[in-house]
Amino acid sequence: MSLGWLKSALLSLLFFVVLVGAWHLATLPKGERAAATDEYARLLGKGAKKSEGFPTPAQIGETIVKNLSEPFYDRGPNDKGIGIQLAHSLARVGLGYLLAIVLAVPLGFVIGMSPLVYRALDPFIQVLKPISPLAWMPIALYTIKDSSISGVFVIFICSVWPMLINTAYGVAAVRSDWLNVAKTLEVKPLRRAFQVILPAAAPTILTGMRISMGIAWLVIVAAEMLVGGTGIGYFVWNEWNNLNLANVIFAILTIGVVGMALDLAIGRLQKLVTYVE
């Protein structure tokens, strides 16, 4: 076990070195940069510290150190540190996601327990599910009249479907033996829901929540690029405007790391409720 782990870690490291090495070679400056001799070149920023072409791994490292050494600075409404931006994004995702849980889990329960409601609501769910959450943005902006609540709404609407469908499926798929036992023992409906169905369906529900979190984290970046203001998506957009690719790559890495952390956290929860039959 420990030897296998060591081997895979070494292989990962090797991949990393090869990747960064190839990147470094691909972005090596071509030839000596001409010094700014005439005025035209000076106006083009030649000779000065100007980022040309794709950033090198060294530049990225520099950017990461610079951004992480001061993550919480706040120089006015349009220039905040990466920590503050992440906090804004996480708050939006958290709020929209919580709202989605509050609606989707109880509703999924009802749908799962009643085949009639399931069939009645199915067409609506099937039509609404494939809509890109960003397509809701103009309508949200128009009706809610607040850009930051619109962002939360978009997170809500994209995370609600996987949870709803998984909860309904999980509840509907509870083994009928267990329900029959509950019936024989004359268990009251509320107790049956909480002590028989919920634990039985919990792994499926958690799977839905894990999928939802993944989607929500994907969507927040796009939503913030669209609406602007604060958040990690806005950070990417703002640096794209300045064509500062080093910062964009830094932001992409951050998004990846945070997304992984969120996924791992829910994965832990999932392990807690999983059972072996």
């Binding site: 106006l43 083009l44 000065a48 349009n78 794209w240 064509l243």
Partner: protein
């Protein structure tokens, strides 16, 4: 003292006679009640004077006014009269520098040099000087600028000068009365083409090109359409014009998504700086002195918070006055370049503002009036914009150009506040100007419109 008594009280008499009716004249009455001082502070009394004047004008016969007030109740009357008569605004005019009703303001802006005056007013402290605490909100695109103003998330905003006209008319959005307090900048735009088109300097070779403009209701859109149409290209049939937020223009040009754009600076200069494009023509060579962006406020602010409006007006005008002076341009470039505002290399901003720039073709050009910041909101500019909206089918119905122009572009206020900070304002509000050599006369807009061969078939 009759001017200080409440004209909405039916028991009070305005005009001849006295309030209580027991004396032959008001003077006599006042002698009798001299020891009863009028209630309220100076501001209330000031307001009374104005209200009385208005009510006297509305109801020349005092009897009619009393009957009206008795019939509908004084508060209803006050609301009814206020709805068409901005007491608050007149009051502010009468007493002026009052404390702002609302001090904490959010102002939206797009990160372009057009907004220099309203941006620099923050780091240089012009807002604070007027007792305002302003937060400048960088916004992702013009559609959001519009929505955030309509949603009242922003109190005032950087606009493209055609936008308040369009919003007031309700074309392309829900109608809401929006006003242009000042023009932000004149000139300062350019047509930038991708470097691969260096040999295609004649617009006749542009068939099939894809161009970007910041917004449908923008001077950029109208100037680009005008420019290509003058060269015999139909902008609706021969080329494609798409809306791209200014900050994304260079990235799109680099990706080859578009062949060029008529966009705001610093993005023309930025395209040169990044060696992806060249400046084909400065917008000043299409129409020298054309307006571009505007500083806009909702009509509601003028009525409900006249002192805030006045303070904001003075702050932005102070900034414009400073920005007009070429001596200050380098300093301005320095204060608006940081990430909190434009987030651009300082040299790019400096080239735009000083007019000494690299054109992307290997030349250093020196055009001091490449960008300027004349704040005066000429009515003739608004009429021209409306004719172009009509020409390209953005405006379907027939409208009274002058009436709308005079409603939306606040020339009177501009004159007043310019005078307060010792800026010279022109006496006329209409002027003739030439766009690509063709003269525009605001008094004959229909004739002007009819003179164009290329226009959208209505």
């Amino acid at each position: 003292m009759s001017a200080f008594s409440n004209p909405f009280n039916p028991g009070v008499r305005l005009g001849a006679g006295c309030d209580c009716g027991r004396h032959a004249s008001q003077a006599e009455h006042e002698l009798a009640v001299a020891d009863e001082p009028p209630s309220g502070d100076v501001e209330t009394l000031n307001r009374r004077v104005i209200e009385s004047a208005v009510m006297r004008a509305l109801f020349p016969r005092d009897e009619t006014r009393r009957r009206f007030l008795n019939a509908v109740g004084s508060s209803t009357a006050l609301a009814a009269v206020s709805s068409f008569f901005p007491f608050g605004a007149i009051e502010a005019m009468a007493q002026d520098k009052g404390t702002p009703e609302k001090k904490d303001l959010k102002i939206g802006f797009i990160a372009i040099t057009c907004a220099s005056p309203l941006i620099m007013a923050d780091p240089l402290g012009f807002y604070r000087q007027q007792g305002l605490s302003v937060q400048l909100m960088k916004t992702a695109g013009w559609a959001l600028i519009r929505d955030k103003m309509l949603n009242k998330e922003h109190d005032a905003s950087h606009f493209l000068s055609p936008m308040p006209l369009a919003i007031s008319l309700g074309t392309g959005s829900a109608a809401q009365p929006m006003r242009v307090a000042t023009i932000q900048n004149i000139n300062g735009q350019a047509i930038t083409l991708h470097s691969k088109h260096k040999d295609k300097r004649d617009p006749k070779q542009w068939k099939g090109f894809k161009f970007a403009v910041p917004f449908d209701y923008s001077m950029h859109n109208f100037l680009l359409r005008y420019y290509v149409a003058e060269h015999g290209i139909d902008p609706d049939a021969d080329i494609q014009i798409r809306v791209v937020p200014p900050p994304e223009m260079v990235a799109n040009l680099r990706a080859g998504n578009i062949d060029g754009f008529l966009g705001p600076d610093p993005f023309n200069q930025r395209a040169v700086y990044d060696e992806v494009g060249f400046i084909h023509i400065l917008s000043k060579d299409i129409w020298n002195g054309h307006p571009c962006c505007a500083f806009g406020v909702p009509d509601a602010m003028i009525k409900d918070a006249p002192n805030t409006f006045a303070a904001l007006y003075r702050a932005v005008l102070t900034a414009a006055r400073m920005a007009r002076d070429p001596k200050n341009r380098e300093l301005i470039a320095k204060v608006i370049a940081p990430p909190n505002y434009l987030n651009q290399p300082e040299t790019v901003i400096e080239q735009v503002l000083t007019g000494k720039f690299a054109d992307g073709l290997g030349n250093v050009r020196n055009v001091p009036d490449r960008a300027d910041f004349d704040p005066f909101p000429w009515h003739s500019m608004a009429v021209w914009i409306l004719t172009q909206m009509k020409r390209w089918g953005y405006l379907k119905e027939d409208v009274d150009y002058k009436r709308i122009a005079e409603q939306v572009f606040l020339v009177t206020d501009a004159r007043k506040y310019m005078a307060q900070i010792d800026m010279k304002a022109p006496a006329a509000s209409y002027a003739r100007f030439k766009v690509m050599g063709k003269e525009f006369d605001a008094s004959a807009p229909d004739k002007y419109l009819a003179s164009f061969a290329i226009r959208k078939a209505s």
